[in-house]
Symmetry: C2
Subunit: 151 residues, 2 copies
DNA sequence: GTCGAATTGATTGCGAGCAATTTAATTGTG
DNA sequence: CACAATTAAATTGCTCGCAATCAATTCGAC
């Protein structure tokens, strides 16, 4: 098998990306479990702490997740007492997600999470921001390569 | 809410990483579905094309996946006729995974995948290799921050 | 105003991921 | 040899993630 085997080189970027993303959620786990959250649930809370009362659709647009993922996830969070789901009165198709007082209160326990993670990643601020920019660019390119059906 | 809110900054590296990894597997999907593979299954095939007959444990070490993920995945691949699972004769605890002739043949259809993906990612070779190095470093740091129980 | 198209969530079904436990086999220690 | 500790897979149970489909609602052209 040649050294420059394309099926070997292929393990180069995509696989590390895949492995790093999983390692990242695993690194979050011990921090978030103290808050009773998983990583995707934490992402939902980040959006809600910033903008309470968004619809499921808006949540999906911000997190790039669809209702098939969000609906059951939000139901679990509702059972936990972190959020309330309310169907809109103006447009009965949409559902708004509101923080409960418990959900708002959880924010105070979450403020230490980002620093703890930054520490675990062991990158300088410049490295972190450069890597972020590059990964985001890759994400955008990949997103566009998945052409949504032009209506 | 202050502009430098840590819970806002937090969306900066981890979330793009998480989103990019998902976008990446979605970009693979149309290419791999022609081969009847999912992305994790493709990873298993990459290892087997390189080293046929590895054990489940070795597969797990290379892909950072445990038997809880691999066992059902390999069973599906066995049902598809791509691999054969055989319990070792020397050590009946371990299971070796072998390619079938069909699994070996699939390699020819897979050789075009890496280039197609490289195209979708739209990065130069230098960008690609730099990003790979950085993501891999991040992965290694994160892995170490998850101390395996020292026995 | 009415009817067809579009939009929003919910549902279903399946394939990962992973923690925790279980089972079976092997190793090491006395 | 005996038996405790270790190891490798498998199993269980839960949470994503997403494609495909469905139901309810709203929009828009007429």
């Amino acid at each position: 098998m040649p050294v420059d085997d394309p099926l070997k080189l292929d393990l180069q970027l995509c696989f590390p990306l895949y492995a790093a993303a999983r390692a990242m959620t695993q690194a979050y786990a011990p921090l978030l479990s103290k808050l009773g959250l998983t990583y995707p649930q934490y992402l939902v809370m980040l959006v809600l702490w910033e903008t309470d009362g968004v619809t499921v659709k808006e949540l999906g647009e911000r997190l790039y997740l669809d209702s098939g993922t969000l609906t059951p996830l939000l139901k679990r969070m509702e059972t936990q007492g972190l959020v309330r789901r309310e169907r809109s009165t103006e447009d009965a198709r949409s559902v708004h997600v509101h923080l409960t007082s418990q959900g708002r209160a959880l924010r105070r326990k979450a403020v230490s999470v980002p620093e703890a993670m930054a520490c675990k990643m062991g990158l300088s601020l410049e490295e972190l921001s450069r890597l972020r920019r590059e990964v985001r660019r890759l994400f955008e390119t990949l997103s566009k390569s998945q052409p949504e059906p032009t209506k």
